[in-house]
């Protein structure tokens, strides 16, 4: 077996790849959060609950309506996104002018209510959801066995993240979005329906969490607390990347996945802490985050 400085290189490659897979997952989750904060200045603590909702919606779609995984990948983000639209229109808009803390507390409350509701109805143990037949099995690499589904996570995540980044940074619609956050009054004067843009952006950001939920359902336990476990890590990633920086969230997500993967290899006990240690260091050196603009 190839070794370098006493480290098993094959083992290390495996860990790097696994870290990259997790990182692409983190990127997907932090993307929605970064969009909602960057464009709407809402700190959405319900993002984890929306991710959980996405996974449960996929499970319900399969068990109650016979909708398979591939259809769920399209339908569930729309449904979860719609839930986001409803939340924005009827709960967040009335407090839009208030301090950021209000929306933070409101979304935190929504998250707790949803989590409690699902625990009450479906119990804490979780529900089974299988990997679709097309993606069962895997490929034998020289250094590890790569399950097809994990490879698919990388592909899907890169695709969705890339498209989203392109749409916001490079298209006319994206320009409207960014303009709306800079100065809504002027944009409105140009005849653009700004409140509608805000609602749809929130719905889109939340829909991304729903998409991540469907992606997670076959590999992680579909349980009510899956979102709250993930949310704090994802928040740390968004903070490291620079609150609101979309490209930053994607790159940081990938990077943190790799750092976490290496920690799991060398000192697993610290794997849940390492991201926060990085966050502290980054905040001390660069308070706006790695890719954030200094205020």
């Amino acid at each position: 077996m190839a070794t370098f400085l006493g480290i098993n290189l094959f083992g290390l490659f495996g860990q790097l790849l696994v870290g990259l897979i997790n990182g692409s997952f983190y990127a997907l989750l932090s993307l929605g959060l970064a969009i909602i904060f960057g464009l709407l200045k809402i700190i959405n603590f319900a993002q984890g609950a929306m991710y959980m909702l996405g996974a449960f919606a996929a499970w319900m779609a399969l068990n109650y309506f016979g909708i398979n995984y591939w259809a769920a990948l399209i339908v569930v983000p729309l449904v979860v996104g719609f839930a986001g639209v409803v939340i924005e229109r009827f709960l967040l808009r009335p407090i839009a002018g208030e301090d950021h803390l209000y929306s933070l507390l409101l979304t935190f409350g929504i998250a707790l209510v949803l989590q409690g509701l699902f625990t009450q109805i479906y119990g804490a143990s979780g529900q089974p959801y299988s990997i679709p037949d097309e993606l069962k099995g895997g490929t034998k690499l020289p250094f590890m066995y790569l399950p097809d589904y994990r490879a698919w996570i990388i592909v899907a995540s890169v695709l969705v993240c890339g498209l989203t980044w392109f749409m916001i940074e490079k298209t006319r619609l994206g320009a409207y979005l960014r303009a709306g956050t800079e100065n809504p009054a002027i944009l409105q004067a140009f005849g653009i329906n700004v409140p509608l843009i805000v609602t749809l952006t929130f719905g889109f950001g939340v829909g991304l969490a729903g998409f991540a939920g469907v992606m997670a359902a076959p590999v992680y336990s579909v349980s009510p607390d899956m979102g709250s476990n993930m949310l704090i890590v994802v928040f740390a990633i968004v903070v490291i990347g620079g609150m609101g920086s979309i490209g930053g969230a994607i790159l940081t997500g990938l990077g943190m996945g790799i750092i976490e993967g290496l920690t799991k290899y060398f000192y697993p006990e610290a794997s849940t802490t390492v991201i926060f240690a990085v966050m502290v260091i980054v905040l001390l050196m660069k308070p706006a985050g790695l890719f954030g603009k200094e205020a």
Binding site: T119, G138, R150, K264
Partner: protein, 401 residues
């Protein structure tokens, strides 16, 4: 002959005196009050949350609602899996609410804190679901009673037969907290003493979502058996990942603590065939089915082992109160240890002086999809493990007479 008669007479008198003394003590506060402390909304809610309350209610109702002519009351609370929350609730129960005994008791960390409070106030801890064996070994107390299972029984029940069948080399994926460490160390002892070898262990923090890194490490260790020394969602997540990375094809994966609800949360294709140890299974015989059916009608799901245990131990406690003629803890606990527990749950059972209830344990196999008649049909019982084999001997310092 004369001397024998004399002895019998004096025993009789002594017995009569002790009965009358006990009856004089009677029932404190004109009621027997049972506290049920459990995780009502967290990760262990399905294992012993509301279900434990339901089970205790059933026991009280089946007992007739009164003991020695006094009413039996139940009070319940959520410990949120936090030792400080649990112990302050129990302190309040004892000081202000005349609670006589506390049952439920899930997370070992909470139970450790609560059992101390109870011992200080000379109240009995009826531990239904906690896994740690500390309560009857290094943290033993004359007031601790542990009913359903413990880590020693799990290790003896699952690990020993596997090593015996030629699975020599072991690797552990362990939950990084007290329970996981205890389970790993007890299982390691069993592996070593049975002639096997532990190649390594990796400690995954509680609530880890992605186990792929740990699974890769387990895979590269070349072990025959990957033992999952974790519970709940950690267990389901780690097993799912092990199956995904093909680990289940190249090695045996052993779940050391699996509750029925965890097994139900897994795809039968992944979990089917796995062997594990449990203290109770609802579909064992007519008696267990009869009780479990009543439980399911009220609670909505089949009973987890700790919930059945909570019923059984509450029943035994109430019988002991009746037989002792008092709810005084010292008298009741002596009575509980004298009387043999015997019901649908406790088979070939004795309550030892260290508070360990020793009873038949079961080695079961998770059924494959085509073997399951309905969603509740999960385990097939392969072996009955006699209590003495499962639980190991009593420590001399814990022999509370």
């Amino acid at each position: 002959m004369k001397s024998i008669n004399k002895t019998l007479l004096s025993v009789g008198i002594a017995a009569a005196m002790s009965v009358s003394a006990a009856q004089a003590a009677g029932i404190s506060d004109d009621k027997v009050k049972i506290g049920v402390l459990a995780d009502m909304g967290g990760v262990y809610a399905d294992i012993c949350g509301e279900g434990c309350v339901t089970a205790v209610q059933m026991a009280v109702e089946d007992f007739g609602g009164t003991v020695l002519g006094k009413p039996i009351e139940i009070v319940s609370a959520d410990d949120q899996n936090k030792p400080d929350v649990g112990s302050s609730i129990v302190r309040k129960w004892i000081d202000n609410e005349q609670v006589d005994t506390v049952t439920g008791l899930v997370a070992s960390s909470v139970t450790g804190a609560v059992a101390k409070v109870l011992t200080d106030s000379k109240k009995i801890a009826l531990i239904s679901t906690s896994a740690s064996h500390a309560f009857t070994t290094k943290a033993c107390s004359p007031y601790n009673v542990q009913w359903t299972y413990n880590v020693v029984a799990l290790a003896n029940g699952t690990v020993k037969p596997m090593v015996g069948a030629g699975k020599w080399r072991w690797f552990f994926i362990t939950a990084d907290y007290a329970f996981g460490h205890a389970l790993e160390s007890v299982a390691t002892e069993v592996v070593n003493s049975s002639g096997g070898e532990v190649l390594g262990a990796v400690r995954a923090p509680l609530g880890t979502t992605d186990f792929s890194s740990y699974v890769l490490q387990a895979q590269s260790s070349g072990a025959d058996v990957i033992a999952l020394a974790n519970a709940g969602t950690d267990f389901t997540n780690s097993l799912k990942t092990a199956a995904e990375f093909g680990l289940t094809q190249t090695a045996d994966v052993a779940g050391l603590l699996v509750f029925t609800s965890n097994a139900q949360a897994l795809d039968p294709e992944i979990a089917g065939g796995m062997k594990l140890t449990t203290g109770f299974y609802w579909d064992m015989d007519e008696q267990t089915r009869e009780w479990s059916k009543r439980f399911k009608e009220r609670h909505g799901s089949i009973p987890a082992m700790g919930q059945a245990g909570a019923y059984s131990m509450t029943m035994h406690y109430l019988k002991a109160v009746e037989a002792a003629g008092t709810d005084d803890s010292d008298t009741v606990i002596r009575k509980m240890k004298e009387m043999k527990p015997d019901d649908f749950f406790a088979r070939n059972a004795t309550l030892r002086n260290d508070g360990r209830m020793v009873h038949d344990m079961y080695q079961v196999r998770i059924k494959k999809a085509d073997e399951r008649a309905n969603p509740d049909d999960i385990f097939a019982i392969e072996n009955v493990i006699p209590g003495e084999e499962a639980f190991g001997p009593m420590l001399a310092e814990c022999d509370f007479k």
